[in-house]
Subunit: 228 residues, 2 copies
């Protein structure tokens, strides 16, 4: 006899943060429905990573939605704008970089909300991080809290008031090293994940964009060998 | 010399509410960027209506985004579920009908938010209505207010605090008759609009779904001839 498991929707990009979050959701006993977006990103190789991760974690379902955010533009990740390479320079602090995709997390969470409502899931997991992050406004705790408020008014549950939907951000206050250590404890295979914003045609990480630099820093902090 | 006009994003479905709202935005002097979604709705004829409306109002740009909400399902408008026909019965009051599309307005407003940020628009217009409406949770004023709060944390403006983005709902407290009277005063040609959830293959309105019934009631209240 299989015990009843609660469903959760997990936003899965195939990067190390969302992969760790998916592993955390599994470890908490949820039946995990992963949601990935093909949104015109130049690093579409992360979709392949997401598939491998979903497979390796044995997730219940993996839905890939197509959104053409290129029609809206405004970001180096979807537009014909160069991804900045900082190399060994310092990571940015008080600045919103050109890799910011306008309202991306709002759009991603809105789809997750729709799917959660259809599935009857009351938890949506997202791998936002407010410590080692690129300064995106939609990764901040105050944004997540506000989205959760809105989500609880947007759906049927907001009328029937049966139960509150939660936006779960288990790694929001972790440093990159702790994220990796947590994942390793849960058996995550980080060789399957992908972080680079601007990979070579063969999928190889550039090693110089913000995302690569943060990833490298994480492996150093975790005291394990860097997996590019 | 052309005076500088502020930009506004208007969600335009091609129905009578959003068409009236687009006309209101134009009358307030905005440079209107209309956003329409091909989301797998069975009444895709409304896309043609939206194009004609955008054209007749002389809008600056009309962007049609493709979203496959059928992958998510859960509604008679996108799924293989019959649209209810009430005929001459009473319209529903305390019930969320099967034509509700989970989180649809949240998703639509999220795209509008992304586009507004890219365009530098500070006003997003949406034709939600809390009087003669189908009981959808995401048409209620408290939802709109909460989305506006969230939107102001989600974007660059939420960090730089330059100016607040507004979600504008000029017809939210109007009855259907007043909406039509307002539109007629602004020169809206309602023969271009489409409301039916379940049109015949030739685009003809069924006259029996909730949307048709509300439309009919509106023309009666406005004291003008019904345009199906």
């Amino acid at each position: 006899m299989t015990a009843f498991k609660e469903k959760a929707v997990v936003l899965l990009s195939g990067g190390l943060d969302s992969t760790t979050v998916a592993a955390i959701a599994c470890s908490e006993g949820y039946d995990v429905f992963a949601l990935t977006f093909r949104y015109g990103q130049r690093h579409a190789v992360e979709l392949e990573a997401a598939k491998k991760v979903a497979d390796s974690l044995g997730l219940t379902e993996h839905l890939i939605m197509d959104l053409d955010l290129r029609k809206i533009g405004g970001s180096a990740l979807t537009d014909h704008i160069d991804v900045p390479k900082r190399g060994e320079e310092e990571l940015p602090t008080n600045e919103i970089p050109i890799t910011y995709v306008p309202a991306r997390n709002t759009i991603f969470l809105s789809y997750a909300l729709a799917w959660a409502e259809v599935l009857g899931a009351w938890n949506i997991f997202i791998g936002v991080n407010a410590v080692d992050y690129s300064g995106y406004p939609d990764c901040r705790p105050e944004f997540i809290k506000s989205f959760e408020e809105m989500a609880n008014l947007a759906t049927k549950a907001g009328v029937t008031l049966t139960r509150r939907l939660k936006i779960r951000t288990p790694i929001i206050y972790m440093g990159k090293g702790d994220i990796i250590k947590t994942g390793l404890k849960l058996g995550v295979d980080y060789t399957l994940t992908h972080s680079c914003y601007d990979p070579a045609p063969d999928g190889k990480a550039c090693g110089l964009c913000d995302s690569c630099l943060l990833r490298k820093k994480g492996f150093e902090e975790a005291g394990v060998q860097w997996i590019p």
